[in-house]
Protein backbone atom coordinates (compact mmCIF):
# COMPACT_ATOMS: atom_id res chain seq x y z
CA UNK A 1 0.00 0.00 0.00
CA UNK A 2 1.34 3.43 -0.95
CA UNK A 3 1.83 6.26 1.52
CA UNK A 4 -0.53 8.42 -0.50
CA UNK A 5 -3.36 5.91 0.02
CA UNK A 6 -2.72 5.85 3.75
CA UNK A 7 -2.68 9.64 3.87
CA UNK A 8 -6.05 9.54 2.12
CA UNK A 9 -7.45 7.19 4.79
CA UNK A 10 -6.18 9.40 7.60
CA UNK A 11 -7.49 12.55 5.94
CA UNK A 12 -10.92 10.98 5.48
CA UNK A 13 -11.11 10.19 9.16
CA UNK A 14 -9.95 13.68 10.09
CA UNK A 15 -12.76 15.13 7.99
CA UNK A 16 -15.32 12.67 9.41
CA UNK A 17 -14.24 13.27 13.00
CA UNK A 18 -13.79 17.04 13.03
CA UNK A 19 -17.01 18.59 11.81
CA UNK A 20 -15.58 21.77 10.45
CA UNK A 21 -12.55 20.80 8.35
CA UNK A 22 -12.40 20.30 4.60
CA UNK A 23 -9.89 17.90 3.13
CA UNK A 24 -7.97 20.47 1.10
CA UNK A 25 -7.07 22.47 4.18
CA UNK A 26 -5.21 19.55 5.79
CA UNK A 27 -1.45 20.10 5.67
CA UNK A 28 0.27 16.78 6.52
CA UNK A 29 3.25 18.63 7.94
CA UNK A 30 1.06 20.02 10.68
CA UNK A 31 -0.23 18.16 13.70
CA UNK A 32 -3.86 17.36 14.28
CA UNK A 33 -3.74 19.69 17.25
CA UNK A 34 -2.92 22.49 14.80
CA UNK A 35 -6.20 21.62 13.06
CA UNK A 36 -8.02 22.16 16.33
CA UNK A 37 -8.29 18.50 17.37
CA UNK A 38 -8.39 17.75 21.09
CA UNK A 39 -6.91 14.64 22.71
CA UNK A 40 -9.99 12.44 22.28
CA UNK A 41 -10.55 13.69 18.71
CA UNK A 42 -7.07 12.33 17.95
CA UNK A 43 -7.77 9.00 19.68
CA UNK A 44 -10.86 8.62 17.47
CA UNK A 45 -9.06 9.57 14.23
CA UNK A 46 -6.16 7.21 14.88
CA UNK A 47 -8.29 4.28 16.03
CA UNK A 48 -10.66 4.63 13.04
CA UNK A 49 -7.69 4.79 10.64
CA UNK A 50 -6.10 1.70 12.18
CA UNK A 51 -9.42 -0.15 12.01
CA UNK A 52 -9.79 0.64 8.31
CA UNK A 53 -6.19 -0.38 7.61
CA UNK A 54 -6.63 -3.52 9.75
CA UNK A 55 -3.55 -2.85 11.84
CA UNK A 56 -2.90 -2.08 15.49
CA UNK A 57 -0.11 0.16 16.70
CA UNK A 58 0.59 0.33 20.44
CA UNK A 59 -0.27 3.66 22.05
CA UNK A 60 3.34 4.06 23.20
CA UNK A 61 4.54 4.22 19.57
CA UNK A 62 1.91 6.79 18.69
CA UNK A 63 2.63 9.15 21.52
CA UNK A 64 5.78 10.77 20.13
CA UNK A 65 4.47 11.68 16.71
CA UNK A 66 4.74 15.33 15.79
CA UNK A 67 2.62 15.60 12.67
CA UNK A 68 0.33 13.80 10.26
CA UNK A 69 3.19 12.79 7.96
CA UNK A 70 4.89 10.93 10.81
CA UNK A 71 1.63 9.13 11.59
CA UNK A 72 1.28 8.13 7.94
CA UNK A 73 4.91 6.92 7.84
CA UNK A 74 4.35 4.78 10.93
CA UNK A 75 1.09 3.32 9.63
CA UNK A 76 2.76 2.69 6.25
CA UNK A 77 5.54 0.76 7.94
CA UNK A 78 3.15 -1.36 10.00
CA UNK A 79 0.80 -2.04 7.08
CA UNK A 80 3.65 -3.24 4.90
CA UNK A 81 5.22 -5.32 7.66
CA UNK A 82 1.90 -7.05 8.04
CA UNK A 83 1.58 -7.63 4.29
CA UNK A 84 5.11 -9.02 4.01
Amino acid sequence: MEKAEILEVVKNHIVDTLDDIDEDSIDPDKSMKDLGANSLDIVEIVSCSMRELKVKVPRSELSNLENITQLVDLLHKVVNEKAA
Binding site: D19, N38, S39, L40, V43, E44, P58, R59, L62, S63
Partner: protein
Protein backbone atom coordinates in the same frame (compact mmCIF):
# COMPACT_ATOMS: atom_id res chain seq x y z
CA UNK B 1 -1.88 17.46 42.00
CA UNK B 2 -2.95 20.52 43.94
CA UNK B 3 -4.30 19.36 47.32
CA UNK B 4 -7.94 18.41 47.50
CA UNK B 5 -9.15 17.13 44.09
CA UNK B 6 -12.73 18.33 44.70
CA UNK B 7 -13.41 21.93 45.63
CA UNK B 8 -16.66 23.01 47.22
CA UNK B 9 -17.65 26.53 46.20
CA UNK B 10 -20.63 28.14 47.91
CA UNK B 11 -23.38 27.95 48.80
CA UNK B 12 -24.09 31.15 46.98
CA UNK B 13 -27.81 31.98 46.95
CA UNK B 14 -28.53 28.30 47.51
CA UNK B 15 -26.21 27.01 44.77
CA UNK B 16 -23.17 24.96 45.73
CA UNK B 17 -20.64 24.06 43.06
CA UNK B 18 -18.58 20.87 43.27
CA UNK B 19 -15.53 21.36 41.16
CA UNK B 20 -13.54 18.28 40.13
CA UNK B 21 -10.07 19.65 39.60
CA UNK B 22 -7.07 17.47 40.31
CA UNK B 23 -4.91 19.47 37.90
CA UNK B 24 -4.75 16.42 35.64
CA UNK B 25 -7.35 14.11 34.08
CA UNK B 26 -9.90 14.07 36.89
CA UNK B 27 -9.59 10.31 36.96
CA UNK B 28 -11.56 8.28 39.47
CA UNK B 29 -8.64 7.14 41.63
CA UNK B 30 -8.91 6.52 45.36
CA UNK B 31 -8.30 10.15 46.45
CA UNK B 32 -10.82 11.50 43.91
CA UNK B 33 -13.51 8.95 44.82
CA UNK B 34 -13.07 9.62 48.55
CA UNK B 35 -13.08 13.39 48.05
CA UNK B 36 -16.22 13.19 45.93
CA UNK B 37 -18.03 11.02 48.45
CA UNK B 38 -17.09 13.40 51.26
CA UNK B 39 -18.15 16.43 49.24
CA UNK B 40 -21.49 14.89 48.22
CA UNK B 41 -22.26 13.96 51.82
CA UNK B 42 -21.33 17.45 53.00
CA UNK B 43 -23.44 19.38 50.51
CA UNK B 44 -26.34 17.02 51.12
CA UNK B 45 -26.33 17.91 54.80
CA UNK B 46 -25.90 21.62 54.25
CA UNK B 47 -29.31 23.22 54.79
CA UNK B 48 -28.29 26.32 52.84
CA UNK B 49 -27.65 24.29 49.68
CA UNK B 50 -30.69 23.95 47.45
CA UNK B 51 -28.95 22.97 44.20
CA UNK B 52 -25.65 21.24 43.50
CA UNK B 53 -23.80 22.04 40.29
CA UNK B 54 -21.08 19.55 39.40
CA UNK B 55 -18.33 20.60 37.03
CA UNK B 56 -14.83 19.57 35.96
CA UNK B 57 -12.09 21.43 34.18
CA UNK B 58 -12.56 23.06 30.79
CA UNK B 59 -10.84 20.11 29.16
CA UNK B 60 -12.03 17.17 31.23
CA UNK B 61 -15.17 16.67 33.28
CA UNK B 62 -14.08 13.24 34.47
CA UNK B 63 -12.07 10.56 32.71
CA UNK B 64 -13.41 7.57 34.67
CA UNK B 65 -11.53 4.86 36.57
CA UNK B 66 -7.76 5.21 36.44
CA UNK B 67 -5.41 2.45 35.37
CA UNK B 68 -4.36 1.42 38.86
CA UNK B 69 -7.92 1.20 40.09
CA UNK B 70 -8.97 -0.94 37.12
CA UNK B 71 -5.94 -3.23 37.43
CA UNK B 72 -6.67 -3.61 41.14
CA UNK B 73 -10.23 -4.59 40.34
CA UNK B 74 -8.99 -7.00 37.66
CA UNK B 75 -6.67 -8.69 40.14
CA UNK B 76 -9.35 -8.85 42.81
CA UNK B 77 -7.47 -6.49 45.16
CA UNK B 78 -10.27 -3.98 45.05
CA UNK B 79 -13.95 -4.53 44.48
CA UNK B 80 -15.73 -2.04 42.30
CA UNK B 81 -16.60 0.06 45.31
CA UNK B 82 -16.51 3.21 43.24
CA UNK B 83 -19.86 2.07 41.92
CA UNK B 84 -21.36 3.51 45.09
CA UNK B 85 -20.31 6.91 43.86
CA UNK B 86 -23.12 6.80 41.31
CA UNK B 87 -25.60 6.06 44.07
CA UNK B 88 -24.18 8.84 46.24
CA UNK B 89 -24.75 11.24 43.34
CA UNK B 90 -28.33 10.04 42.73
CA UNK B 91 -29.06 10.33 46.44
CA UNK B 92 -28.00 13.94 46.88
CA UNK B 93 -31.23 15.22 48.48
CA UNK B 94 -31.48 18.34 46.30
CA UNK B 95 -31.41 18.75 42.49
CA UNK B 96 -28.04 18.16 40.82
CA UNK B 97 -26.81 19.67 37.57
CA UNK B 98 -23.88 18.22 35.61
CA UNK B 99 -22.04 20.92 33.67
CA UNK B 100 -19.87 18.68 31.50
CA UNK B 101 -17.94 21.22 29.46
CA UNK B 102 -14.97 18.85 29.13
CA UNK B 103 -14.71 15.22 28.06
CA UNK B 104 -16.51 12.59 30.12
CA UNK B 105 -15.54 8.96 29.75
CA UNK B 106 -16.77 5.70 31.27
CA UNK B 107 -17.50 6.09 34.98
CA UNK B 108 -17.01 9.83 34.52
CA UNK B 109 -19.86 9.98 32.05
CA UNK B 110 -22.28 8.00 34.17
CA UNK B 111 -21.39 10.19 37.14
CA UNK B 112 -22.69 13.17 35.16
CA UNK B 113 -25.73 11.27 33.91
CA UNK B 114 -26.65 10.38 37.50
CA UNK B 115 -27.47 14.07 37.94
CA UNK B 116 -30.99 15.44 37.41
CA UNK B 117 -29.93 17.79 34.62
CA UNK B 118 -27.03 17.24 32.23
CA UNK B 119 -25.33 19.64 29.81
CA UNK B 120 -22.65 18.61 27.32
CA UNK B 121 -20.38 20.67 25.08
CA UNK B 122 -20.52 20.43 21.28
CA UNK B 123 -16.77 20.14 20.92
CA UNK B 124 -15.98 17.78 23.81
CA UNK B 125 -16.25 14.01 23.64
CA UNK B 126 -18.32 11.52 25.58
CA UNK B 127 -17.99 7.78 25.55
CA UNK B 128 -17.99 4.44 27.32
CA UNK B 129 -14.53 2.96 27.18
CA UNK B 130 -15.19 -0.13 29.35
CA UNK B 131 -15.41 -2.68 26.53
CA UNK B 132 -12.30 -1.23 24.82
CA UNK B 133 -10.49 -2.71 27.81
CA UNK B 134 -12.32 -6.00 27.61
CA UNK B 135 -14.67 -5.72 30.58
CA UNK B 136 -18.36 -4.98 30.79
CA UNK B 137 -19.59 -1.50 31.80
CA UNK B 138 -19.90 -0.57 35.45
CA UNK B 139 -21.08 2.13 37.86
CA UNK B 140 -24.66 1.75 36.68
CA UNK B 141 -23.89 2.53 33.04
CA UNK B 142 -25.86 -0.44 31.68
CA UNK B 143 -29.11 1.14 32.84
CA UNK B 144 -28.44 4.85 33.33
CA UNK B 145 -26.91 5.54 29.92
CA UNK B 146 -30.05 4.42 28.09
CA UNK B 147 -32.26 6.75 30.07
CA UNK B 148 -30.08 9.68 28.97
CA UNK B 149 -29.39 8.86 25.33
CA UNK B 150 -31.94 6.13 24.45
CA UNK B 151 -31.49 2.39 24.20
CA UNK B 152 -30.02 2.22 20.74
CA UNK B 153 -27.48 4.98 21.08
CA UNK B 154 -26.55 3.56 24.50
CA UNK B 155 -26.01 0.14 22.92
CA UNK B 156 -23.82 1.63 20.18
CA UNK B 157 -21.75 3.48 22.78
CA UNK B 158 -21.34 0.50 25.12
CA UNK B 159 -20.46 -2.05 22.40
CA UNK B 160 -18.38 0.39 20.34
CA UNK B 161 -16.47 2.38 22.93
CA UNK B 162 -16.21 5.32 20.56
CA UNK B 163 -15.98 8.89 21.80
CA UNK B 164 -18.83 10.91 20.33
CA UNK B 165 -18.63 14.64 20.03
CA UNK B 166 -21.24 16.38 22.14
CA UNK B 167 -22.73 17.77 18.92
CA UNK B 168 -23.66 14.17 17.99
CA UNK B 169 -26.24 14.15 20.79
CA UNK B 170 -28.05 17.33 19.82
CA UNK B 171 -31.69 16.72 19.04
CA UNK B 172 -31.63 12.97 19.54
CA UNK B 173 -31.15 12.35 23.25
CA UNK B 174 -32.56 13.31 26.63
CA UNK B 175 -29.60 15.52 27.52
CA UNK B 176 -30.84 18.96 28.48
CA UNK B 177 -28.44 21.13 26.48
CA UNK B 178 -25.73 20.64 23.88
CA UNK B 179 -23.88 23.95 23.75
CA UNK B 180 -20.57 25.45 22.68
CA UNK B 181 -18.14 24.93 25.52
CA UNK B 182 -17.80 28.65 26.13
CA UNK B 183 -21.53 29.03 26.86
CA UNK B 184 -22.12 25.91 28.90
CA UNK B 185 -21.23 26.96 32.43
CA UNK B 186 -23.27 30.14 32.18
CA UNK B 187 -26.32 28.14 31.09
CA UNK B 188 -25.83 25.61 33.89
CA UNK B 189 -25.63 28.43 36.43
CA UNK B 190 -28.82 30.00 35.08
CA UNK B 191 -30.66 26.70 35.52
CA UNK B 192 -29.22 26.33 39.02
CA UNK B 193 -30.27 29.84 40.02
CA UNK B 194 -33.82 29.15 38.87
CA UNK B 195 -34.04 25.92 40.85
CA UNK B 196 -32.50 27.57 43.91
CA UNK B 197 -35.36 30.05 44.21
CA UNK B 198 -37.59 27.23 45.42
CA UNK B 199 -37.85 26.12 49.05
CA UNK B 200 -35.47 23.36 50.09
CA UNK B 201 -38.22 21.22 51.62
CA UNK B 202 -40.18 21.03 48.40
CA UNK B 203 -37.05 20.55 46.31
CA UNK B 204 -36.16 17.58 48.51
CA UNK B 205 -39.61 16.06 48.15
CA UNK B 206 -39.60 16.41 44.39
CA UNK B 207 -36.02 15.14 44.14
CA UNK B 208 -36.90 12.02 46.06
CA UNK B 209 -39.78 11.33 43.75
CA UNK B 210 -38.06 12.20 40.46
CA UNK B 211 -34.90 10.27 41.27
CA UNK B 212 -36.78 7.07 42.08
CA UNK B 213 -36.49 5.60 38.55
CA UNK B 214 -32.75 6.31 38.56
CA UNK B 215 -32.29 4.75 42.00
CA UNK B 216 -34.19 1.69 40.86
CA UNK B 217 -32.27 1.54 37.57
CA UNK B 218 -29.01 1.80 39.45
CA UNK B 219 -29.86 -1.09 41.79
CA UNK B 220 -30.86 -3.24 38.83
CA UNK B 221 -27.69 -2.33 36.98
CA UNK B 222 -25.55 -3.07 39.99
CA UNK B 223 -26.92 -6.58 40.38
CA UNK B 224 -26.05 -7.49 36.80
CA UNK B 225 -22.86 -5.46 36.50
CA UNK B 226 -21.28 -7.06 39.56
CA UNK B 227 -21.92 -10.51 38.14
CA UNK B 228 -20.60 -9.55 34.70
CA UNK B 229 -17.49 -7.97 36.25
CA UNK B 230 -16.62 -11.17 38.13
CA UNK B 231 -16.43 -12.91 34.78
CA UNK B 232 -15.13 -10.21 32.45
CA UNK B 233 -12.35 -8.90 34.70
CA UNK B 234 -11.10 -12.48 35.14
CA UNK B 235 -10.56 -12.93 31.40
CA UNK B 236 -6.82 -13.05 30.66
CA UNK B 237 -6.96 -10.44 27.87
CA UNK B 238 -8.61 -7.83 30.09
CA UNK B 239 -5.48 -6.95 32.11
CA UNK B 240 -3.42 -6.50 28.95
CA UNK B 241 -6.08 -4.33 27.36
CA UNK B 242 -6.30 -2.12 30.46
CA UNK B 243 -2.53 -1.63 30.48
CA UNK B 244 -2.46 -0.86 26.76
CA UNK B 245 -5.34 1.59 26.97
CA UNK B 246 -3.52 3.75 29.48
CA UNK B 247 -0.24 4.07 27.63
CA UNK B 248 0.21 7.68 26.60
CA UNK B 249 -2.95 8.91 24.92
CA UNK B 250 -1.54 11.90 23.03
CA UNK B 251 -0.84 10.87 19.47
Amino acid sequence: MSGEPVKIVGPDDGVTELWLDDGDKNALNAPMVEALERALARVGEDRDTRVVLVRGSDEIFCSGGDKQMLLDIASGKVHATDIMLTRAMIEVPVPTIAAMQGHAVGGGLVLGLACDVALVAEESRYGCSFMNMGFTPGMGTTRLLASAVGEHIAAEMMYGGQYFRGSHFAGRTQLNYVLPKAKLLRKARQIAARFAEKPRGSLELLKRSLSLPRRRAFEEARTMETMMHEISFAQPETRALIAENYESQDA
